[in-house]
Assembly symmetry: C2
DNA sequence: TTTAGCACTCTTTTGTTTTGATTGCTAAAC
DNA sequence: GTTTAGCAATCAAAACAAAAGAGTGCTAAA
């Protein structure tokens, strides 16, 4: 447990470093952050904070920077989750009032808003279909060998996909499929679309596997796939840590690797907001970055997941404040 | 008009520079590229090529690099459009045989293939709807205040969009719309969806503007918008020119600016393959890069546009060879 | 427990020298 | 007339050296 002054020193160093990106010296802290003691005293505190692992030095005679552990303590104990200005509140409110036709658009807009306000890069995916219930499936014949399937879920998510056949199909067949699929799936969770359904349909329906098989396959595929949206990739390049070519390159590599981003957004949701600092990230590639993920929900319904990716020296207070405010705002809007 | 030896020298310098990214010295060229003369002679040729603007020097005592004009001459006169290996041919062939459900997926696969083979970043958009004919429009009711519109064009392009209403609508209304829209639009070019249609529908249909208006607006919107796909952004970062932070930053900025990319893909199609070298690009932001765009068609039908963006020191021979081969291959596949 | 004072450390900056690659020019060779 | 050998001149890049400056850690006094 840290005493009050140590907390103040740690907080001061973290916030100062977040602002300036320069190692923080004992001198620069005197008479700031409520620290009314000499630089020598602060130096002693710093030495102790370093000994217990909250601070690092870049070299013997440099100022201090927070360690991953230091950032973690800051996020858990010292954060200010009201770090958001009136202008920002206004901006966010106006952006979130945009009318959208699809839930995914709301995710996009939210991700864009977060990126604009925080000046970090965001990645996002739409709502997960797993655990949602099928409200309706509609098949629409397009030409003679092509059909569109539209799936509507209980939370208002709409997914559609095109299915091509190797043989002609007719309106009658489409109608039968419409009836059969809905009969079997309406009100059921999406996982129901699986082997048993396939067998049932093969039994019940007179026509060939050539028709049913691609339908089920394609529907499963479209329900599983995560579309990734990227916002403000360029914003990160204004940060001093991106002056290192290696960092910049790693960053572009991460954003270019869909599986990585997808995993990043799909792991660990003990909380609605999760913070992974440097090495806390499971993936090796992310160890020089921090990731904050945010599952945005309305009335408990998943609306998609947004991740902020930036340097470890991320403005956690700002990021978390913005997320919390957006969360609240979305809930209000839905009422 | 350049004499034979000058052509050889220019070609040698361009290709050498493309390979090594280092200024080319007179010495390194002797006994290569069929140049059987001394370095002094090559130096004299170089001096003349520089005088007439085909070469540049980075400083007084450095080797030569091609100027934009030099690259242009190379692209117009010296290029080898068979610069493609057997492995690459095999790879491309196998990739292009992937079965796709949507035309846009073909564009994506082609762009990805080009990026893989050339090691450059590609951007792409699907086919333009303008000038296509409407084959069919289908409206599907989803719930009570939501509808999906699916538009099918003569080239097999499928576009769909969700429309939300402020009032309930019923199956009957949807059917009427289905009839009216198809009656008026089937076989017509997409531009037909405009004021006159709107007025016609207002006159003919009994229900309110609240229903027709969002339908037309949303359809127009979805038909106009370009979805941009990006492939291999990270590949560029392995090139030495991206060691300059300014270049790297500009590059990410370009890719992040959708209008810029969109404009890039939508300008000037005198030829199917267009090459813009450095300052030849209309946009200021692109002046340090070269862009090669490729409108891929089958039987004269637009299938989308793919652009390669890379350094001015781009391997034009490779890029153009790949594009030409893909063009041919797609045509063959369609038969 | 706090702080003033100071030696020590290490980075950053600045300047200087050296090295080496490459050219342009001149004059001789072909 | 064209080509080439030879060589001084040029300039970037690397290596080295010195100085400046920022910050710490420790000691001893307050």
């Amino acid at each position: 447990m840290l005493d009050e002054r140590k907390k103040k020193v740690l907080q001061a160093i973290v916030e100062e470093y977040i602002n300036t990106a320069e190692p923080v010296s004992s001198n620069s802290l005197t008479n700031h952050y409520g620290l009314n003691c000499s630089s020598a005293t602060i130096r002693n505190e710093m030495a102790e904070l370093e000994k217990i692992g909250y601070l690092d030095k870049t070299h013997t005679s440099s100022g201090r920077i927070p360690s991953a552990k230091g950032y973690r303590y800051y996020v858990d104990e010292l954060i200010n989750d009201q770090a958001i200005s009136l202008e920002e509140i206004k901006y966010i409110s106006s952006k979130l009032e945009t009318k959208v036709n699809e839930i995914e658009d709301l995710t996009k807009i939210t991700a864009n808003t977060i990126s604009e306000v925080t000046h970090y890069t965001t990645v996002s995916i739409g709502p997960k279909t797993t655990s949602q219930l099928i409200e309706e499936i509609k098949f629409v014949l397009l030409g003679s060998r092509m059909m569109m399937a539209v799936i509507l879920t209980d939370t208002g998510l709409v997914k559609e996909t095109i299915i091509k056949f190797d043989e002609d199909i007719n309106e009658k067949q489409v109608e039968t499929m419409n009836y059969m699929f809905n009969h079997k799936l309406k009100g059921q969770p999406i996982e129901t679309i699986d082997r048993p359904l396939e067998e049932y349909l093969y039994d019940e329906m007179t026509y060939s596997v050539n028709v049913i098989k691609p339908v089920i396959e394609q529907i499963k595929k479209v329900l599983e796939e995560d579309k990734i949206y990227l916002e403000g990739a360029n914003k990160s390049f204004d940060l001093p840590e991106f002056n290192s070519l290696e960092v910049a390159k790693n960053f572009v590599n991460i954003l270019d690797t869909k599986e990585l981003v997808s995993d990043m957004l799909n792991t660990g949701f003990a909380e609605d907001i999760n913070v992974y600092i440097g090495e806390e990230n499971e993936k090796e590639e992310l160890k020089d970055f921090s990731v904050v993920t945010f599952k945005h929900k309305v009335n408990g319904k998943d609306l998609g997941t947004i991740g902020i990716i930036g340097p470890k020296r991320m403005d956690y207070s700002k990021v978390i404040s913005v997320m919390k405010y957006i969360s609240k705002k979305l809930d209000d809007n839905s009422k």
